[in-house]
């Protein structure tokens, strides 16, 4: 599964990195974010692009599991 690690990156990098990752049209994608703003922004972007997703909180980070 493709994995995008956006931890430590400031706005709008998490969404931009996600956008670049889905340009290859992957079936599944895992995105790591480390704050609520990035989590919400990436989630909203995935919704717009037709991906469904689940969010899991791990320590202080979030893993967003996206699926086409």
């Amino acid at each position: 599964m493709d994995r995008v690690d956006t931890r430590g990156m400031s706005c709008p990098q998490p969404v931009l990195m996600t956008k670049n990752a889905i340009s290859d049209d992957p079936e599944k994608l895992e995105i790591l974010v480390d704050n609520n703003t990035a989590k919400n922004n990436v989630s909203r972007f995935l919704k717009h692009t037709g991906y469904t997703f689940q969010i899991k909180e791990v320590d202080e980070d979030f893993i967003i599991y996206a699926r086409k």
Partner: protein, 360 residues
């Protein structure tokens, strides 16, 4: 939908509060202006000696502390920093030079339009062009590298400094400067200004409202969320100004503004471009500072020093128009920011591809 409703309501409240602050004493079309208020604080601290713009604006302290309180309560206070701090400092200076050419930050640009100041249209056009140039760099891989988690002490320092500034404002020791005339002498009562800042700080922290983010995300991701806040501020400010009789539509004799379209445009090109590279508008930098982001604190420090540079070196515009020094500074800063954008993108340093083998 709930999310969108939240940012529309927040934008509306900010628009109305801005008009009310003018009614209660702030300069016209300047209920809020992050650039102008940081410039006034810079003057209040004596970093520049422009006598008409010296006042420790409590709205700024309110914004930072409002953001800090709500972030702390929601466990979103996360001290972090170390993402190209000196570049951010320099970008903060350039953003201030651009804003003080136009005479307003992106928020005041919208408030000026909401007050009928049509010169702001040139500002908005410039702002969009600046954002487009910024997006070009983002699409070419521009970034200022990652940040790192820091200690609570590091993140708490800036909110504490803002409490200290409030104490200085209230106690008014002789080494703090207070304008006797001009925009710096016009202000709403301290308690109300502080409360307004706190409310807007809370709203901006919760909604992530960002003036540059609105246009950037719409162009880059077709995401209208932040743009709705931008539009809402304008509409409610317009309604507020209309109902209080403050609406004065035209180009000439607008408050704390000039009518040279080219320099209104270029000032905001610089402000918009710098803000995109920084990841947020001046207001957003203050909100992030309250959340413990010291990269944003460094940016705010850049803006504070930038304001001092603007007035010490005669770069800031006045209602009479831009200054020759200011015009030169804006052009130089556009080149500087362009170079920063270039050398932090993949045009200058090609991206390493996993599995690359270096031979030789």
């Amino acid at each position: 939908m709930k999310e969108k409703k939240g940012i529309i309501i927040s934008g509306g409240i900010i628009g109305i509060i801005s008009v009310l602050l003018v009614k209660l004493g702030n300069p016209a079309n300047m209920g809020f202006c992050i650039a102008c208020f940081i410039r006034d604080i810079s003057g209040g601290l004596g970093l520049h000696r422009a006598e008409i713009v010296q006042y420790l604006r409590p709205e700024i302290m309110g914004l930072v502390l409002g953001s800090f309180i709500i972030a702390f309560m929601n466990k979103e206070f996360r001290p972090q920093g170390g993402s190209s701090p000196f570049i951010r400092f320099v970008l903060g200076i350039t953003v201030m030079i651009g804003a003080l050419m136009f005479l307003g930050c992106p928020l005041r640009m919208v408030l000026r339009l909401g007050g009928g100041d049509l010169n702001a249209i040139f500002g908005i056009l410039g702002f969009i062009v600046g954002i487009l140039i910024g997006i070009f760099f983002l699409n070419k891989g521009f970034n200022l590298k990652r940040n790192y988690k820091l200690s609570n002490g590091e993140g708490l320092l800036f909110p504490i400094i803002n409490i200290f500034l409030l104490i200085l404002l209230i106690s008014a020791p002789s080494f703090i400067f207070f304008s006797q005339e001009g925009p710096g002498s016009m202000y709403a009562p301290i308690g109300i200004s502080l409360l307004a800042g706190l409310v807007v700080g809370v709203l901006c922290q919760r909604t992530r409202l960002c003036m540059v983010g609105g246009i950037r995300d719409f162009i880059l991701f077709k995401d209208t969320y932040l743009l709705l806040g931008f539009v809402s501020i304008f509409i409610f400010c317009l309604i507020g100004n209309g109902s209080l009789g403050y609406l004065k539509v035209g180009f000439l004799e607008q408050p704390v503004a000039f009518h040279d379209g080219l320099w209104n445009f270029l000032g905001m090109v610089l402000c918009g471009l710098g803000s995109v590279l920084l990841g947020g508008c001046p207001m957003r930098q203050l909100i992030l500072s309250g959340e413990g982001n010291t990269d944003s604190v460094i940016t705010v420090m850049g803006m504070l020093i930038g304001a001092a540079i603007c007035h010490n070196f005669g770069l800031a515009s006045s209602p009479k128009g831009p200054t020759p020094n200011g015009q030169i500074a804006v052009i130089v800063c556009l080149i500087v920011v362009g170079v920063i954008g270039y050398i932090h993108s993949e045009m200058f340093v090609p991206k390493k591809v996993k599995g690359d083998v270096k031979i030789g």
